[in-house]
């Protein structure tokens, strides 16, 4: 079978109503290495939030694919991103997840760099008897090829050969606007970084965020708890914002949810949620209505699980979560997760949002560990199978329409395609957005 051809990996025949993905995308270590190089290290990826380096000389560290990087705010107030590796011997310069540093000193030989990445000192330089070649070299921390911000969300690319960030995000920007518009002051992350791993391919996480089909199957234990609470059996419980919503319950109720595919692999799945006091945002409902009108405000209160290909997800459902996906191996993924909040919300709204978040989104809570477990069952189950094609990308194919629909029109948003329907439709075709972007990035290396 190897070397792979793209047509062997994704079977995309729209005219015949076929879209299938090969299990090798999840289980092949060599394919994983190619993905790291061509999906993660050659195109736009999400880095973090501008609020993570809010003040002068603040910084945070992350990775682009396998490459460690620093995002720092220089003394000029400008955010920059450079490779977290000393030009001298390659050592990682910043070892903490975040901090404030006017100077970064390499722990090995004390070369120092300022908060804009410029080399300020090569220790004992004058006595170093360097040749001309060294003198002519650039000793600064290497800036990444492209770096940009959209409304507090930071992205970078190790390749310069990419579209502008605005083009890359495209119409998915409307979905970020719905989050960013919730406060005049912008967004921030609640202190407390939660990380976990699962022994499965990173694309399981990418898909699951967009998967409305799994909720009642993977999470009935949580639903049982929600029912217990609804029956008044836990007077101490924090209200769940999911309890009152219908989009996941499986009745036949007209249009209660759907999905949109945007250019470059970004997708969103949404479900209708009526504004209600169990949502932290509810205390801003009147103000938002006044400022943005009924259509836009209704969208702000809907459940929306947004993926920004290939590595970021903004989940607005039981609370609001920012997830960063870090693939480590074909069968191992690390997740960095944060509670994403509008700045300046009331203490009561913040408390509610945090409690709902812990209950649902933490790996120590009542939902996410079940997702992790089923990813691992997929990873185990699909290994070494002869029949390569998965059947997990087919629901909704006959309901897909090109372009947007009435609901996206209300935002002035023009997706590539859309699906809308009852909860049991539970569209899977939005995953196609991921694989089209994947094919696009992998076409650099596979024919």
């Amino acid at each position: 079978m190897k070397p792979y051809r793209l047509v062997d990996l994704v079977d995309d025949r729209p005219a015949e109503g076929v879209f299938r993905v090969n299990r090798a995308l999840f289980s092949d270590p060599e394919l994983f290495d190619l993905e790291m190089k061509h999906v993660f290290e050659s195109g736009w990826v999400f880095l973090g939030m501008a609020s993570q380096a809010a003040d002068l000389h603040d910084y945070f560290t992350t990775r682009i694919g396998r490459i460690p990087v620093i995002v720092a705010r220089g003394k000029d107030g400008v955010l920059r991103c450079f490779v977290n590796s000393c030009p001298h011997k390659g050592a990682r310069i910043a070892t903490q997840p975040s901090g404030n540093a006017r100077l970064f000193a390499c722990p090995y030989h004390s070369w120092t760099f300022d908060s804009s990445g410029a080399c300020k000192n090569v220790k004992w330089h004058n006595a170093g008897a360097y040749g001309q070649g060294f003198t002519e070299e650039d000793h600064d921390l290497a800036p990444i090829a492209r770096f940009g911000e959209y409304r507090g969300f930071l992205f970078g690319s190790l390749s310069a050969d990419v579209p502008s960030l605005d083009d890359h995000l495209g119409e998915a920007r409307h979905m970020l606007d719905l989050v960013a518009d919730q406060s005049d002051e912008g967004l921030e992350l609640v202190p407390g970084r939660v990380r976990f791993t699962f022994a499965a391919n990173w694309k399981m996480q990418l898909e699951n965020c967009s998967d409305q089909y799994h909720f009642t199957s993977t999470h009935p234990s949580l639903i049982k708890v929600l029912e217990r609470r609804a029956a008044g059996e836990n007077g101490a419980a924090v209200k769940s914002s999911l309890a009152g919503a219908d989009f996941w319950k499986g009745g036949d109720e007209g249009i209660v949810g759907g999905s949109y595919i945007f250019e470059h692999g970004h997708v969103v799945t949404w479900g209708r949620m009526e504004p209600n006091p169990s949502q932290a945002l509810y205390s801003s409902h009147t103000a938002l209505l006044e400022k943005f009108g009924a259509d836009r405000t209704a969208w702000m209160f809907n459940m929306r699980n947004l993926s920004l290909f290939p590595n970021a997800q903004v989940a607005v459902n039981a609370s609001t979560q920012l997830r960063v996906i870090r693939p480590i191996a074909h069968n191992l993924t690390e997740m960095e997760t944060w509670c994403l909040v509008p700045k300046g919300e009331s203490a009561e709204a913040r408390r509610l949002r945090i409690r709902q978040y812990e209950d649902f989104f933490n790996p120590t809570g009542m939902a996410i560990a079940d997702d992790n477990a089923v990813y691992e069952e997929c990873q185990t189950g699909m290994t070494g199978q002869d029949g390569p094609w998965l059947q997990g990308h087919a629901r909704g194919l006959a309901a897909t329409r090109k372009g947007g629909n009435d609901l996206s029109d209300r935002l002035g948003m023009e997706p590539v395609s859309s699906v809308a329907g009852p909860s049991q439709l539970a569209d899977e075709t939005l995953f196609q957005g991921y694989y089209h972007a994947w094919l696009d990035r992998m076409s650099e290396v596979l024919a």
């Binding site: 049982k224 101490a236 120590t364």
Partner: protein
């Protein structure tokens, strides 16, 4: 009233050790009903998150925790889910051993007798054939209810907070 205050039970190191050791055993035996009975109705159960490499979150209303509950009925929710047979990650519960050490009396905090200890839990998950271990420090706050020592608060400071797939109340 004054008499009652004066006669408030003294917590001995042996009492403290007995109670937190019993808690560990009940969890390891998966006797969750017995475990819940050790807690007061209004109990605090709190596992802070890490703010950065060096500090933990301290204000649960403004900062994220790994777990934060006030009220034993929230722990009952967790047990309901854990033992429901409906949770893919918990269908087969991991086999857990809690190891406790360094038990120390920490004086009074309000009406609670503080007990510090260190813990290690080892967990074997038959589902995935995977071993995991977690370690850190406990701070129990004990109170007497009807002549019995009960847990009014438990703060779990988890040192290794990169969670492998799952970490539930049975394994911390």
């Amino acid at each position: 009233m004054n008499d009652l205050t004066l006669e408030r039970a003294r917590l001995t190191l042996a009492d403290a050790q007995a109670l937190i050791t019993r808690e560990a055993r009940l969890l390891d035996e998966q006797d969750f009903a017995g475990w819940l009975d050790l807690y007061t109705e209004d109990a605090l159960y709190w596992m802070p998150a890490w703010r950065d490499d060096n500090s933990q979150t301290e204000d649960p209303d403004r900062e994220l925790s790994l777990i934060y509950y006030r009220g034993r009925s929230n722990l009952r929710d967790r047990v309901t889910r854990l033992t429901s047979g409906l949770s893919p990650v918990s269908r087969t519960l991991p086999r857990v051993a809690h190891i406790l050490s360094n038990v120390e009396l920490g004086g009074m905090d309000g009406d609670e007798h503080v007990v510090f200890s260190s813990f290690v839990t080892h967990a074997y998950d038959p589902r995935s054939d995977r071993l995991s271990y977690h370690f850190g420090r406990y701070r129990h706050g004990l109170r007497q209810v009807d002549g019995e020592w009960r847990i009014a608060s438990k703060i779990i400071r988890l040192a290794n907070d990169l969670v492998p797939t799952v970490l539930d109340v049975n394994a911390i």
